[in-house]
Subunit: 268 residues, 2 copies
Amino acid sequence: MSMTGRRETLSRARVVAAAIAQADANGLDSLNMRSLAQELDVVPMALYKHVANKGDLLDGMIELVVGEVERTPQTGDWKRDVRARILAARDRLQRHSWSRAVLESRAAMTPAMLDYLNALTGLFLDGGLSADLTHHVMHALGNRMWGFSQELFAATPRSDPSFETQKAALPTHFPHLAAIARAAAQADPESGVGPGCDDRLEFEFALDLLLDGVEILHAQQWSSRGWMRASAVAESWRIQKDTPGYGTRETAETLRAALTAAKRDRDM
Amino acid sequence: MSMTGRRETLSRARVVAAAIAQADANGLDSLNMRSLAQELDVVPMALYKHVANKGDLLDGMIELVVGEVERTPQTGDWKRDVRARILAARDRLQRHSWSRAVLESRAAMTPAMLDYLNALTGLFLDGGLSADLTHHVMHALGNRMWGFSQELFAATPRSDPSFETQKAALPTHFPHLAAIARAAAQADPESGVGPGCDDRLEFEFALDLLLDGVEILHAQQWSSRGWMRASAVAESWRIQKDTPGYGTRETAETLRAALTAAKRDRDM
DNA sequence: TGACATGGTGTACACGGTACACCTAGATTG
DNA sequence: CAATCTAGGTGTACCGTGTACACCATGTCA
């Protein structure tokens, strides 16, 4: 548009960028087509020349953010590499409070998403893990691969009046919760039960727990073959829940075997 | 209302139950105050005499479902007990496809929720785990404690035309993803990359991985004390990402120690 | 020069949550 | 027993939000 220089011509990129800015500033709820249009100094319907609909806009937003995740260098140590890459994703997505909700509600398979998934998968495979194990591990990571902790409690602290009452009743009615809350408070003085916990620490704890477990399975050349057969057995157990053995699964055995084998191997 | 027996008088319970039925039948999207009112043969605003607003209605729905989670018996084996309890939660929540979305978007701390959390926490504590470890483990479990897998891909398979193209381009552009997709297809003939995988199997794999890891940490009398100090160090490393040691964390060491110690202990 | 594509405009509608004033019948009480 | 209160159902109306659709302006190209 040459008529006047009074404003840049719109583009999908500009629309998406403005949407991100607005969601960052005022939260996802405040992001609507009208306010976004106003921000861009156009009429609402103008946006639809650049995005198909609001869903498409949201897809574009995560696409852009995910595309900016740092390509951390590979060192040859798969565990370290995976860890670094996931923390890089976290670093990026944490800056956009809305990203979690959008990713979980939509998660369209855009190129940048596939790219990230592919790269992460590649780190495991390059590390020598079997495709079989890697596949299950990717599932086990789930949303954690984006750097999200799995919030126990909604972000909203519930300001309704009954809440305080409940909180007061916690030690008597929910003693176990009170106990771990105390433990958390001890480690980190200014914390309640849910928020107040160091989100990053909890995240790394869980991530390392998973990756360390995976390392052991890998060392044991774990395969889903026997495991799935075992699960068929467990399935029948499940029907008769009081059968002895209910609730166990081969993984534990595998692990125990790993402990034993490890002693033989790298001994001392 | 005695005037005619033509309909039961409304109550919060009846409203919530009807809402659940409707969400079960036609999906969460189709649940709105008007259609729900029609189902109950009243005018929309009548509902507001029994629920404060739609959010409150949703809270009531999960409250009811969570309250129905089976109280699995304790056997004295904490790992088995946790596993059984979580699978019981899964069994219940899986019947309501909307529960995941509602739980993630709201997660108000209603009595039934607190009850479940408290009970689950108690299983760990009764098993002898420290409050410290239990606290972090509860975080690590996250939404998995409700029996949800952490979906990699949205449920919607995206019917847009570019999707097929992308799928075709998968082997060349995203070879690693193609590799694990093949592995999955091999194990389970009729599966693509995301859906088609046995959800329950993936869930149990991840759950066991976590619980087995926790068992080891527990055996090692893991404490967050040293670990948090280590993280402070890692924090400074993070600033200089190329520092050697970046991306490692003490948990791995703990585990390695566990392997070594295990050999000494239960030897052979 | 005239047709067309690209992109911004204006109007208007559907849908969903819910505020508010009202009404009605059973329960309560002087 | 009448006056009043209250719980619970009604009707109307409003607002916010996404978006269909017809239209119009401008730069491009045959």
